[in-house]
Amino acid sequence: MSKLRIRVDQDKCQGHARCKSLAPELFELDEYGNAHEVGDGTVPAGLEDKAWLAQTNCPEIAIEVTEE
């Protein structure tokens, strides 16, 4: 299975925090509640479904998921 990588577009994120709620292992929030990918955004094995879940629930379409 290919590796996934996630990235939160800071120009689009408005801090709905849906990603943090659905995939807390993959996202962290700053002091304003805006989301950032954890580390370099590499999705650990087993968390792929959560990455897609976060991506498909972001109201601002701010999360990019790429397959490497």
Binding site: A17, L29, E31, G33, L53, T56, N57, P59, E60
Partner: protein, 408 residues
């Protein structure tokens, strides 16, 4: 017509017969059941117009709502309620009434107190509030869930955050009714509510300056504006006005609609009792299907939205609730699917004006539904009672009579 606040300008609202060309979100038919109306409007055009409210557009699709929400160049937030009158703008409530570039610094001051982590610290108090309320009526075997439960949760939670007495909640509820419901058609009610609220908060502001605490009012007084200077009293008062107006009947409505749905849908109720871990997902679906909040914009420059021309001088009824029922965006949009997997609903808005209290609202909804279902797992609408809905900008049940226990 006069712009004077004392003018008793009360246009009539004749019953609507042609929704597509003469819509009115204060019509009793809309208040009672807006969903078929939105379908009619959406089928007619992505943007419809009415001459009521001195001229107002309504985007009917998710796409059109999104285009307007993202377009701060042609659409201003300086008026966020569609009303019969457009008096001079006096009582601002930053950041909801702010446009760029003032918007961002005004919003950033408010964001830290409302992060999910901050809400986790408030959660135990909200859980206790819910149980205190349930204690008051559970032995009766029935209650008006809107009057006895959902109405009091947000008001007490916000009072707790602001460090003001929770018992002052009834005052807040009165002001909000004057501003958000009566104020659509009656300028005097609006101004009276704003005036009383401002006086009340001014007194608390002065008191916090003498004795600062770690409540939200004190935090705002300590906060620094973009240039490093403290916020003006007017700015702090405006933001407090916003928290109260935006944070109370909205969540009251959202919790109420969720309970209304569960009262009449035994299968969903039983599933959430058996699988409480599904409650957060169900809450998102309730937010989508019964979004309480409709916002507004004012058209500043001519443009087109989803191909439809839009002209200055008009307001825009920015219906996130209608967007969330658009079948082009949500499969089975009119069905409530409590385990819906993909749900990019816009109940808290889209773009820079995303509701600053969304984390608070979600926490309150989740806790309110969890605690209710723990203690009252079986309940149903009282066939002898009547469910009534609020009118205008925020939609939710204002009377919600329910009976506890299994159907006899």
């Amino acid at each position: 017509m006069s712009d004077s606040p004392s003018a008793s300008y009360l246009p009539e609202h004749p019953p609507v017969t042609d929704w597509v060309h003469d819509f009115d979100h204060t019509d009793p038919v809309w208040t009672d059941d807006p969903f078929p109306i939105w379908e009619t409007l959406r089928a007619a055009s992505p943007v419809v117009h009415t001459e009521r409210f001195l001229g107002c557009y309504m985007p009917t699709t998710y796409q059109a709502v999104k285009e307007i929400a993202y377009d701060t160049e042609h659409f201003s937030s300086r008026r966020v309620i569609v009303r019969d009158v457009r008096p001079e703008i006096s009582a601002r409530a930053p950041p909801i009434t702010s446009d760029p570039p003032e918007h961002k610094p005004a919003k950033q001051v408010l964001l830290p107190p409302f992060t999910p982590d901050a809400m986790k610290r408030l959660e135990p108090r909200v859980r206790a509030i819910c149980n205190e309320l349930i204690d008051e009526f559970i032995a009766d075997g029935q209650c008006d869930a809107a009057a006895r439960y959902t109405k009091h949760i947000p008001v007490r939670a916000i009072a707790h955050m602001l460090g003001i007495p929770e018992k002052d909640g009834d005052l807040f509820i009165k002001w909000i009714h004057q501003i958000l419901e009566l104020g659509i058609k009656d300028e005097n009610e609006m101004m009276s509510g704003v005036r009383e609220m401002t006086g009340y908060f001014m007194a608390h502001l002065e008191q916090r300056k003498l004795e600062p605490g770690d409540d939200l009012i004190s935090q705002l007084l300590r906060a620094k504006g973009p240039g490093g200077q403290p916020l003006t009293d007017e700015h702090v008062l405006g933001s407090l006005r916003l928290l109260l107006i935006a944070g109370i009947d909205t969540t009251w409505s959202a919790i109420g609609s969720s309970l209304w749905h569960l009262a009449r849908t035994p299968a969903d109720r039983e599933r959430l009792v058996a699988e409480p871990a599904l409650i957060p997902t169900a809450i998102e679906e309730f937010l989508r299907a019964y979004s309480p909040v409709t916002m507004a914009r004012e058209v500043m420059k001519e443009t087109t939205i989803s191909g439809c021309p839009v002209k200055p001088g008009n307001m825009v009824l920015l219906s996130f609730p209608a967007a969330n029922r658009d079948p082009a965006m949500f499969p089975d949009a009119d069905k409530v699917v409590i385990d819906r997997k993909e749900n990019r609903h816009a109940a808290f808005g889209l773009g820079i004006h995303r509701c600053v209290g969304s984390n608070l609202a979600r926490m309150e909804m989740q806790v309110a539904i969890e605690e209710w279902l723990k203690r009252i797992p079986d309940f149903r609408l009282d066939p002898a009672g009547k469910v009534t809905w609020s009118e205008g900008t925020v939609r939710g049940p204002r009377q919600l009579p329910v009976l506890f226990g299994k159907n006899a």
